[in-house]
Amino acid sequence: MMNSLDPKRVLEAALLAAREPLAVEQLHQLFDVIDPPPAIAEMLDQLRTEWDGRGVELVQVCSGWRFQTRAEYQLVLDRLNAEKAPRYSRAVMETLAIIAYRQPVTRGDIEDIRGVMVSPNVIRNLEERGWIDVVGHRETPGRPALYATTRSFLDDLGLRSLQELPPLEEIPHTVDLLANTADATEDTTDARVGDPAGALPGAPAEL
């Protein structure tokens, strides 16, 4: 039975039907009766080329290979389903970025970087999307959960690994700051009339 089927077509059908990306090791299972095993990497390359210029493309992501619609076609296909993908607030995206680039991190770490409380909803939102999960606990008082991004996060962003994340902007070393401290003394001369600093400390926190 197997011998009558073109291995490349088998591969294609498997990838078109799969719900999740398929790893090369998984794809090998399709051919375990064939000796010698077919060159899967080569066939994947050929398939990718065959699908050039069509509405669907074969891509490699973190957990394997998958077919996906091309962005320029998806714009048209979106006419079929009014239901749009969820939009994420800046709070969610910043939390995600911190987890992605600084993982594993606790909620406290995220709050330190963002300078504000992180709502539990933000974390839950990302967990429910399957983009982050708890990978352990930090051995500090309270044993806070350590969050990291998942394979599914990379898959959904079309990335093969964390190294493919957009590079971070360089930040200057704060040591550089010290070089400027000599001039900064001038700053101490200012004195503003009606400095609201005086007004504020007594202000009650309205919380």
Partner: protein
């Protein structure tokens, strides 16, 4: 994202006073920073717009185009407090972090007013702004990273994964059985029945039983068959013996009838009650 760009336009500049309102790095500041005046109805929008005190500070710094590595603390603190005070006076719910930051800014500012011991001028960490700048830069870095992530093509937004229908009804999937699974099943039987191990089946016994089934099949529906036709000499002597044992065993179990009219006549074999075969 576009909202961010719109906000400065909402904030009308307001020129005031002929004398400097402040001095920034020795330069007189002749007018309020352009973004200090907040139209009352814009306040809530602005509040929602900032993700927290660091975000607000970054906005103020980038807006006034000052060097983040050399922040004029007094001016920045002033602007920041103007915002916070405006929020407070509008009775808007103000996150505690904004007030904490206000206190921190004032602390830094006051520490910078203190005379610095010249001898320890090289002392790292003396500049009270270092920690604030570090935090601002780190936050700004993550804010930019978040924007980059947001811009990446994303599943179910810029693209969808393809998953065609799997037509399972066309092929009934049947369980696969490995020979070893039969042994496992048998062992389970043994364990349960607590039969002694010598109840095992040898290959010889098996082959006899295999031939018993073969002979019964040969006889199915064929009425009488000549004894010799039950044997296939091409399979070798060993198999012939096994075959013969199978026929004897079938006879012993009363499953077949052997008949012979006279000695040396052909022997005929017939299944017992072959007529009412159910299959």
């Amino acid at each position: 994202m576009t909202q961010q760009l719109d906000i400065p336009e909402m904030l009308e500049s307001q020129a005031v006073a002929s004398q400097p309102v402040a001095r920034v790095r020795g330069e007189p500041l002749m007018q309020m920073p352009t973004d200090l005046y907040i139209p009352p109805d814009a306040l809530e929008v602005i509040l929602e717009h900032f993700e927290g005190p660091l975000d607000l500070l970054l906005y103020l710094i980038r807006k006034t185009n000052v060097d983040v590595l050399d922040i004029p603390m007094a001016a920045l603190t002033l602007q920041y407090l103007e915002y916070v005070e405006a929020m407070r006076s509008k009775n808007l719910e103000l996150a505690a972090e904004y007030l904490v930051m206000a206190a921190m800014l004032m602390e830094i500012k006051s520490r910078m007013l203190l005379p610095r011991p010249r001898a320890q001028g090289q002392d790292e960490g003396f500049d009270p702004r270092v920690e604030l700048v570090r935090r601002l830069l780190e936050y700004e870095q993550m804010k930019a990273a978040a924007a980059e992530l947001e811009a990446l093509p994303r599943a179910d937004r810029e693209f969808r994964s393809v998953s065609v229908w799997i037509e399972q009804t066309l092929v009934k999937r049947l369980p696969q059985v490995e020979p070893q699974a039969l042994v496992a099943a048998w062992q389970e039987l043994l364990r349960q029945a607590r039969v002694r191990a010598h109840h095992s089946v040898s290959r010889d016994e098996l082959s006899v039983r295999e031939y018993m089934a073969i002979v019964l099949r040969l006889l199915r529906g064929s009425g009488f068959r000549e004894f010799g036709s039950l044997f296939d000499p091409s399979r070798g002597v060993a198999m012939l013996v096994v075959n013969f044992l199978a026929v004897l065993e079938l006879a012993r179990e009363g499953l077949i009838e052997l008949s012979q009219a006279r000695p040396y006549d052909p022997i005929y074999v017939k299944r017992v009650h072959d007529d009412d075969e159910q299959s």
